[in-house]
């Protein structure tokens, strides 16, 4: 039997025919990158290919790299293998990667969601034989409510906090969730402040997306001016001295994990908003059905549970271990991921 078009090896998802990796987690020569989150676009590859709207994002994150930007649906051929990028609806510039060779079609989703959030170009269903999908929230317990409803709740929460004389600190990872929240915050309630990490990324994305005005919190920001305002901060800012400037404040987190009552309590966050850039259970099932595929490979999330369910539905489904991390990975600061990579270099045996 021939080797499959795409295989999973110790460096990433590999297309041997084209000598190209998709979202590799170890340094390689040629990498096609689905989107800008740290667990999907890592440092150290010789050449990067990605959607052109993702180029400023990964340049901001990874510094001076050699990167080529592609259009949606633009086919580029490497060693006879046809590649193209299609919107994944996850965050700005997020793509599914379509791979075709001799009529056989594979699609790798990277991360994706079905809801049109008005920020990312909405998910586009791509027909294929084999579908490599994430399933971060691949459990029937996950069911998203429409964004409009969540954002109404967020703005009401802010309004109430403002009336109570408290600052609202809202946690969301700095690439993607922060801009999505920002876009739908109601600036008529008050001023919106940002943590430096979020402000930097937002500046990068402003040319691509219209968002309300923000004020960067610096050492000179006065405690009094923050009162009653909205502060957008990365989750890593929780429990740091930085946050003390906001006293008195209430905290909230916007994530799919907030579905679980325990997740909010364990993280000592006051309020949880269920808002995710990934598919919920029904979303995953719809997406798979839409592709008309026979084979499904689950990469990250509740892979074993989800693939078993698919097998019982008649799909040829299995699991592959990868180093993608779902929303947990997206919570990581860039530096933390790199620290981990350092350890990998030093002790390849133990980690």
């Amino acid at each position: 039997m021939n080797t499959p078009l795409l295989v999973f090896n110790e460096k990433g998802i590999y297309c041997e025919k084209a000598k190209v990796y998709l979202d590799p987690w170890k340094p390689v020569d040629h990498a096609i990158i689905s989107h800008g989150h740290a667990d999907h676009s890592r440092w150290g590859h010789k050449k990067y290919i990605t959607h052109h709207s993702n180029v400023p994002i990964i340049k901001h994150r990874l510094g001076e790299i050699i990167v080529t930007g592609k259009e949606w649906n633009e086919t580029f051929t490497i060693n006879g293998v046809k590649f193209s990028l299609h919107p994944a609806g996850h965050i700005i510039g997020s793509s599914q990667i379509r791979v075709e060779y001799k009529g056989e079609v594979w699609v790798f989703t990277g991360d994706y969601k079905m809801e049109d959030d008005g920020v990312a170009v909405p998910y586009e269903s791509v027909k294929c034989h084999s579908f490599i999908t994430e399933c971060t929230f691949g459990l029937p317990a996950f069911k998203w409510v429409p964004q409009e409803q969540v954002m109404t709740d967020v703005n009401n929460w802010w309004q109430q906090n403002r009336e109570d004389g408290r600052t609202s600190v809202l946690f969301g990872y700095s690439l993607g969730k922060a801009q999505r929240l920002l876009k739908y915050l109601d600036p008529s309630i008050g001023k919106i402040y940002t943590h430096g990490a979020i402000e930097n990324m937002t500046e990068v994305l402003r040319p691509q997306l219209s968002m309300p005005e923000t004020i960067r919190i610096t050492r000179d920001t006065k405690k009094e001016e923050l009162k009653g305002s909205m502060v957008l901060a990365p989750p890593s800012a929780q429990g740091t001295p930085w946050i003390r400037k906001m006293v008195p404040f209430v905290t909230a987190s916007a994530s799919g994990w907030m579905t679980f009552r325990g997740a909010r309590r364990r993280r000592a966050i006051d309020k949880g908003f269920v808002l995710s850039d990934h598919c919920d259970w029904q979303g995953l099932l719809q997406a798979i059905e839409g592709t008309g595929c026979e084979k499904v490979i689950c990469t990250h999330g509740y892979t074993e549970i989800f693939s078993r369910f698919l097998r019982e539905k008649g799909y040829d489904a299995r699991t592959e271990e990868t180093q993608y991390e779902g929303e947990i990975g997206e919570l990581e600061a860039k530096s933390e991921i790199e620290k981990d990579l350092e350890i990998v270099k030093k002790t390849p045996e133990s980690l």
């Binding site: 679980f260 009552r261 325990g262 364990r266 078993r308 271990e321 947990i328 933390e336 133990s350």
Partner: protein, 530 residues
């Protein structure tokens, strides 16, 4: 129900005590009286008997969600709470019910008498008609206790704000056996009720763990020290020729310890003692493991009574000659207790005084603490001689000074996914020690706490890459990592493969400096048994 589930939602939306108390106070101000009684009952863990067993609940919820049962079970494992799982997997509804909390609970009580088919119909109907939070609360009422970050103390504080009745008096009123379906709010909270007095215990005073140096507590002469017994904290009441035994969870456990019935004719009426129930096999204090055999049983067989009898070690006197003496200094209460025990014929009953230690310096106390395991104690209790008996956990007068935990280096052998936020990570670990003869690792303990989030993530990613075999949710991994495991106690056990049971095992640190050959052996572990 709307009001109560709104309360639960509000409590769920904050971690700030002041806001929680505010929400509860508001509820106690506006809710109907009957609902208030139920809310108090639920928040103090008094729920009606479960009308449906959980197996059926799971099946019926699964049916409604139209998923296979195994998928429900997997979801339940990850969510970690049955009611929450049910509320999450059943198709969403925006409806809301006008029925009161009391009405729902009356129905739930009646439910017990119905046939399975009728029960199922009732549950399906209600699950579909309620919105997410109501459905969660409704399922919680059926499945079990509410754990929503509201202690009884917090609730009492709110109730006190709403009623202007002193917190300690309320705590006292809420103790004991009262039936939420039979008592009115007036009877429970507002009225003075002499009849209830007979069985009522006093709220327990709880000690804090000593984290600083003992010297910092001041002059050693102002303190009393005794061993900290590892049993069941209990209050024993003898009033009007009746015996009542209360455990710290405010549970009446009189029937579980028939040997204490002998107190009735020996201990004078109008006596309430605070102490520890301890196992006493072969005429000496046993291990907590021995006691486990008694805790779970409602009725006790004669054979078990002979094999594992219990005794009561008393250390405080709360009521003497029918008078509440909690305000008197510890020194006086101790004297009265000593005299009480001396004057009765205690040789015929399983009652012992927890001896005060004699010492003249903190150093001597520290030395005695080192000996704790020989005495089958967990360390030393320090009590201020001039302190009254307070209510709840209050800092300052009582300290528990536990012995340092025992530790051993063990090898990670199996892993399982954690719950909730950690459900995506392998964070529940099984550890093995070497059997030197067979040169293999024998499982000795499970632990799932003690590492930082960053460490858990690293171990998780290592596990995913080094899985040997999968058994359902459990994976066996290549023996490679050594962890230092700490535990509080240790005893021989036939139920464990290693022959040893450990108490409260947890991960102390990740020994990345050690190879698996450096891990300890089962023999090393057994050598720690006192």
């Amino acid at each position: 129900m709307k009001l109560f589930s709104e309360l639960i939602r509000t409590l769920d939306s904050t971690n700030k005590t002041t806001l929680k108390v505010e929400a509860l106070t508001h509820y106690f101000e506006i809710a109907p009286d009957k609902d208030k009684v139920w809310a108090i009952a639920i928040l103090s863990h008094r729920r009606p008997p479960r009308p449906v067993n959980t197996t059926l609940l799971r099946e019926w919820a699964t049916e409604l969600a139209n998923i296979p049962l195994w998928l429900f079970e997997e979801s339940y494992h990850i969510v970690g709470d049955l009611a929450e799982t049910i509320a999450l997997i059943i198709p969403a509804s925006d409806n809301s019910s006008d029925k009161s909390l009391n009405q729902f609970l009356q129905e739930i009580i009646e439910l017990k008498k119905l046939t399975d088919m009728e029960k199922k119909e009732y549950l399906h109907e209600n699950w579909l008609e309620l919105n997410y939070y109501e459905r969660f609360v409704f399922s919680k009422l059926i499945t079990g206790s509410f754990r929503i970050g509201v202690s009884q103390k917090l609730m009492t504080r709110a109730l006190s704000k709403a009623t202007n009745i002193d917190e300690d008096i309320l705590a006292y009123k809420l103790m004991g056996n009262w039936e939420p379906s039979k008592i009115s709010y007036t009877q429970l909270i507002l009225e003075e009720n002499e009849e209830d007095y007979l069985s009522k215990p006093y709220p327990f005073y709880l000690a804090y763990a000593l984290e600083s140096e003992a010297e910092e507590l001041g002059k050693v002469s102002e303190w009393s020290a005794e061993h900290k017994w590892d049993g069941i904290r209990s209050q024993v009441i003898i009033r009007n020729n009746e015996l009542f035994v209360w455990s710290r969870g405010e549970e009446l456990v009189t029937d579980k310890y028939p040997e204490f019935q002998a107190f009735i004719n020996t201990v004078p009426n109008g006596t309430v003692m605070d102490g520890e129930i301890l196992p006493f096999p072969k005429g000496e204090i046993g291990t907590f493991n021995d006691l486990q055999t008694r805790i779970g049983r409602k009725t006790v067989s004669k054979a078990l009574l002979e094999k594992t009898p219990v005794i009561l070690k008393v250390y405080d006197l709360l009521e003497w000659n029918g008078k509440d003496i909690r305000e008197r200094p510890y020194r006086e209460r101790r004297e009265l207790l000593k005299k009480l025990v001396k004057d009765m014929d205690a040789s015929e009953i399983p009652l012992f005084l927890s001896e005060s230690l004699a010492f003249s310096s903190w150093e001597e106390v520290a030395n005695e603490r080192q000996r704790a395991r020989e005495e089958r104690s967990e360390g030393i209790m320090l009590k201020k001689l001039d302190s009254p008996y307070l209510v709840g956990r209050k800092k300052g007068d009582w300290w528990k000074w536990k012995v340092d935990p025992l530790t051993i280096d063990a090898v990670l052998t199996y892993a399982m996914r954690g719950h909730g936020r950690r459900s995506n990570l392998f964070t529940d670990y099984t550890f093995g020690l070497w059997d030197e003869e067979k040169n293999e690792l024998v499982t000795f303990a499970k632990a799932y706490s003690g590492l930082t989030d960053a460490e858990f993530r690293k171990v998780d990613s290592w596990i995913k890459k080094n899985t040997l075999e999968r058994f359902g949710p459990v994976r066996s991994v290549t023996p490679h990592h050594v962890f230092e495991i700490a535990f509080e106690g240790i005893a021989e056990s036939k139920r464990h493969k290693s022959g040893v049971a450990t108490r409260f095992p947890r991960i102390l640190r990740w020994r990345q400096d050690k190879k698996i050959e450096d891990a300890n052996t089962i023999e090393d572990l057994k050598a720690l048994i006192p």
